[in-house]
């Protein structure tokens, strides 16, 4: 198609479009002034917008080292929180297969109920190798009927040594459990054996 074959109306539009437009000498200045007058659009106020917005980050080696040290610190804290607090290393898992006969034993949750008769006591606590022998860690509850005290605790499978503390000062072995030999502290303890499966 040649120029002579175009529609005259289209030709006229093309000529008008090619004609230079005189904007005046101060057009650029007026345009910039108009831009400056236009208000900056407000950013959406999101509480964590400054965290979520992508941005380039430049930092000095010192700041980078601080960041790395902080991440290591978080890792240390996480590692500490996942370690056992009873001093037992992960490789020292108990492996015995016995169970105290009269105690409830479950396959996955080894909840053991301890019961002792102490009608004259005003406070009885269970202590043992499972609560760091802390008399305030596992207080027992008096049954509504009278002098029987009980508490249920979760125990790992294996052999555990324990005792009762009556009124904060009198230590006594469990009369319904095997005794551990007295070894120097004056009062023998009791032994409970927790199975991985069925009660014996």
């Amino acid at each position: 198609m040649t120029d002579s074959e175009r529609d005259p109306y289209v030709e006229w539009i093309a000529q008008e479009a090619r004609r230079p437009v005189d904007l005046g000498g101060d057009a650029r200045a007026r345009l910039l002034a108009a831009i400056r007058r236009t208000p900056v659009p407000a950013r959406p106020r999101h509480p964590f917008g400054w965290l979520l917005a992508p941005r380039p980050v430049a930092m000095s080696p010192l700041v980078g080292a601080a960041l790395a040290a902080g991440l290591v610190g978080i890792g240390v804290l996480f590692g500490v929180s996942t370690n056992r607090r009873d001093g037992r290393a992960p490789t020292e898992q108990p492996t015995a297969v016995a169970a105290k006969a009269q105690l409830p034993v479950h396959d996955t949750i080894h909840e053991v109920k301890f019961v002792v008769v102490a009608p004259q006591a005003s406070h009885v606590a269970l202590v043992g190798d499972f609560n760091n022998w802390n008399p305030s860690a596992t207080p027992m509850t008096r049954t509504p009927t009278g002098g029987t005290w009980s508490v249920s605790v979760h125990l790992d499978p294996g052999r555990h040594v324990y005792a009762y503390v009556v009124d904060g000062k009198q230590w006594m072995a469990d009369p319904s459990a095997p005794l551990a030999p007295e070894d120097g502290f004056g009062v023998p303890n009791s032994v409970v054996l927790v199975n991985r499966g069925a009660a014996l």
């Binding site: 400054w50 902080g70 978080i74 169970a99």
Partner: protein, 206 residues
């Protein structure tokens, strides 16, 4: 803006890095409450146990028990040493494959006065079977007054005859009841032991 945020983030993480050791040390000290000399002695025993592959938890537990009972530090260190030596002898007697529970049960039996030869006889009678329950019952019987030789022989005979954990726990319960009722400990054991059926042929019973 970017610089400010980066500085804040770096400051926060630097704080965590500096605070981590202090926070980590807030984990309860497992042998807290000991005087420095006793603590030093117990820590040395713990180090020795680790070096020999013995479980440290029984030593820590015994320390905590002593502290909780307000025992003198010197006595605690002495008792922990006894437990350590018992664990070591139990390992020698039962061998390197013994579990933690077998070791602690054997250590308890040794502390009750059971000779290591009797424990070795139990191990040899049924190799590969856990001896935790027979050892716990044996230590209990001796603690209740059954003579060591009588208790050792009876438990070995039952164990070699095929008695299981339930048999031993039933035996212990019966003997305990009889002693409370006034029976002589040795008589109670021998009477109750006869009630347990032998499951192995006589030729295999020592």
């Amino acid at each position: 803006m970017n610089g400010r945020i980066t500085r804040r983030l770096a400051a926060a993480l630097a704080f965590v890095a500096l605070a981590a050791p202090a926070l980590a040390q807030q984990d309860p000290d497992p042998i807290a409450g000991l005087d420095p000399a006793s603590r030093h002695a117990v820590e040395a025993l713990l180090d020795s146990a680790r070096a020999e592959g013995l479980p440290t938890q029984p030593l820590i537990s015994k320390t905590q028990e002593g502290v909780s009972k307000h025992a003198p530090g010197k006595l605690i260190a002495s008792v922990v040493r006894t437990v350590f030596l018992s664990l070591r002898e139990a390992r020698t007697t039962l061998g390197p494959l013994a579990t933690r529970d077998e070791l602690t049960a054997a250590a308890g039996a040794l502390q009750a006065g059971i000779p290591s030869a009797a424990i070795a006889d139990l191990r040899d009678a049924r190799r590969g079977k856990p001896v935790t329950v027979p050892l716990v019952v044996l230590a209990d019987l001796v603690t209740r007054g059954v003579p060591r030789d009588t208790a050792s022989r009876a438990i070995l005979q039952l164990w070699a005859g095929g008695a299981g954990d339930a048999d031993f726990l039933g035996l212990w319960r019966g003997v305990e009841q009889d002693i409370v009722s006034g029976a002589a400990p040795a008589d109670a054991l021998l009477t109750r032991a006869r009630e347990i059926p032998v499951r192995l042929p006589p030729s295999k019973i020592p």
